[in-house]
Symmetry: C2
Subunit: 370 residues, 2 copies
């Protein structure tokens, strides 16, 4: 893998990742001023979580067509976020980031001392961190499921690189690599791409999983993720695909209509921890899995896919790297909405039994076999 | 308030609530068989929460027009869920409930003993509980914001009644009264109505708030909700409206673009705990608040409104009744979507600063003053 770093016109970093020894030409010739960025974090004392505020994101571009796509390679008359006229995989800092470097990470308590209480109820700090965009291919109309195994392998190399590099930014506590696909979930760019959030805190989801894993360890001296995987493999009714190194299953208590968790059979804390055997099988496993979501309904299902990794400093001992991939689509032309019970109480009701979802996903024909 | 209970053709309970001494005629003459109901709960060991499964809900009716609305009063040739040809407020058991009475609440562990681990990773039990529909008015085209103060007062009476009655069902731990409004959030019936879920567990959201309130009490000997309210009132920049008995504000760390929390100034655990002074002001407070969401954009904003109440047995000492009302709409014709960070990591990024949201909501003209 060859890595070529450069700067965009407004100072953001852009990095080409190539499988061969190519050189990248092309300065960013756009007149581009950095928008006024004002991200901050606020602490919710009732839920004990940080919320990110990024009001500059209100004005971000929404679903441009292919001729105006900022993620395509530049060509004469159409300068994009990628100055060169070709690329394999390219990463750049998000122009409208939720989190950003160079912010003071100083905590400010707006209600300190004045009300007789503990003075930490209105807490704010800079939203330090970094948000990156990962373009999987220069082909505007491709889906992740259409990539070649070699390209998927390169994408994973890139995610490993970013996980390691972003962990070095002072204040970053967790790196999350994810992909949103489909306008039904609010995707603003249809060009095939993922995103990386380098958070300055441990996310609520990860915090809860670590809490559960730690309690389980104290109770049993065993690893929770390993035992869940063993129970799913032993039960078998929710397995979607299994190889020597990987297992993909619909969890017994899945929250989304078609939700698959994908674990390496030998536990590792994060993408950088995968060994050569695990890495060798991963592209085919992912292409098989994503392909099933492409062909589950009459057109590719909208989905969210996220790599859950151990935080950088805490919880590395008990966490297990895994991918969670789910669609909001519950049937042909029907979406699952998060209404009162889900959005108000975080209590999920799911219309599709996990065994039924697994059976449906197992039964999706391989491409060309329909 | 007069309460008249009867049964629908398939055995479900229906209750009329009237402000005057009327009697209700009309048997349910429909040929209605109860659909096969198969709700169950499964425990997610990684998030330590219950997930509800109700596969019969896949086939529920979706946005019928006014001539086929099942929540309108019955009329010759169009028999609905409400047999009488008029009503003020009516409550009935949901035909497609996520939770239901009469289920064995027995816990079953599908992975017990066989894998050497603790045997509680694949846990299931019946989804005991009850789901009710509350029709606010017979007028198909009204919004909650259009109701008269007297009608809102009757609706609150009904919610108090249901909170008390549903708490008596064995196994029910928490009663949640909420309203989804707008097709953008998946509302399947546009007739103005709310819903009530009587859960057989404490919801994840409430559990986290109780955890925070308990820790805060141990640390400070003070009540978290009271101190948050005091801090918001003292700061003032996020207050939307305040009366002698009630305060409505955008929380300092709001997760949604336009989110308001509404608390009685004197803390009570649930709706049944409100005193006469608090009750007297509440209809006007709610109508004022909901009216602002009706007129914030060029058409009524889609919203979710939920009354957060103390659970029935646990946590009553530290909890504070409050309404949370929020819209997913972040600007004219723009929705907030829950994508990777929110749905994958429960980490919210919000484009609208709470002070800006509060200012916008404060500035919404009263009806007819535009």
């Amino acid at each position: 893998m060859k890595k070529t770093s450069s700067r965009l016109a407004d100072g953001r970093e852009l990095i080409y990742f190539d499988s061969t020894d190519v050189s990248h030409q092309g300065e960013d010739d756009r007149l581009l001023s950095r928008p006024q960025l004002t991200s901050e974090l606020r602490y919710d004392p009732l839920l004990e979580t940080w919320v990110i505020y990024a009001s500059h994101r209100q004005d971000r571009t929404f679903l441009p067509d292919a001729t105006h796509c900022p993620l395509c390679p530049s060509r004469p008359g159409h300068l994009t976020e990628v100055p060169d006229d070709r690329y394999e995989v390219v990463v750049f800092e998000n122009r409208f980031p939720a989190l950003m470097t160079g912010l003071a990470d100083q905590v400010m308590q707006r209600d300190a001392l004045s009300h007789g209480h503990s003075g930490d109820l209105l807490t704010e700090r800079g939203a330090a961190g970094r948000c990156e965009v990962v373009c999987f291919t220069a082909d505007h109309d491709a889906f992740f499921a259409d990539l070649s195994p070699a390209r998927v392998d390169l994408v994973i190399d890139v995610l490993v690189d970013r996980t390691v590099e972003l962990a070095r930014i002072p204040g970053v506590e967790q790196v999350f690599c994810f992909e949103n696909s489909g306008s039904e979930i609010g995707v603003t760019q249809s060009h095939p791409h993922g995103q990386i959030y380098a958070y300055p805190f441990i996310t609520p989801r990860t915090e809860r999983m670590l809490y559960a894993a730690n309690s389980y360890y104290r109770r049993t001296r065993r690893n929770l993720f390993e035992d869940v995987l063993a129970a799913e493999r032993s039960d078998g009714s929710r397995i979607v695909l299994a190889t020597e190194q990987w297992t993909c299953f619909v969890p017994h208590a899945a929250r989304w209509p078609f939700e698959v968790h994908c674990y390496p059979n030998r536990r590792v804390p994060d993408l950088a921890g995968l060994d050569l055997d695990q890495r060798a099988e991963l592209p085919e496993v992912l292409l098989d899995l994503y392909g099933r979501y492409s062909r589950l309904f009459d057109r590719p299902a909208p989905y969210i896919a996220g790599w859950h990794q151990a935080p950088i400093r805490e919880g590395r001992r008990h966490f297990a790297l895994h991918l969670e991939l789910f669609t909001l689509q519950r049937a042909e032309h029907k979406l699952k909405y998060l209404a009162g019970s889900e959005s108000g109480m975080d209590s999920f009701a799911n219309d599709v039994l996990p065994e039924v979802a697994a059976q449906r996903l197992r039964g999706v024909p391989r491409e060309g076999v329909a």
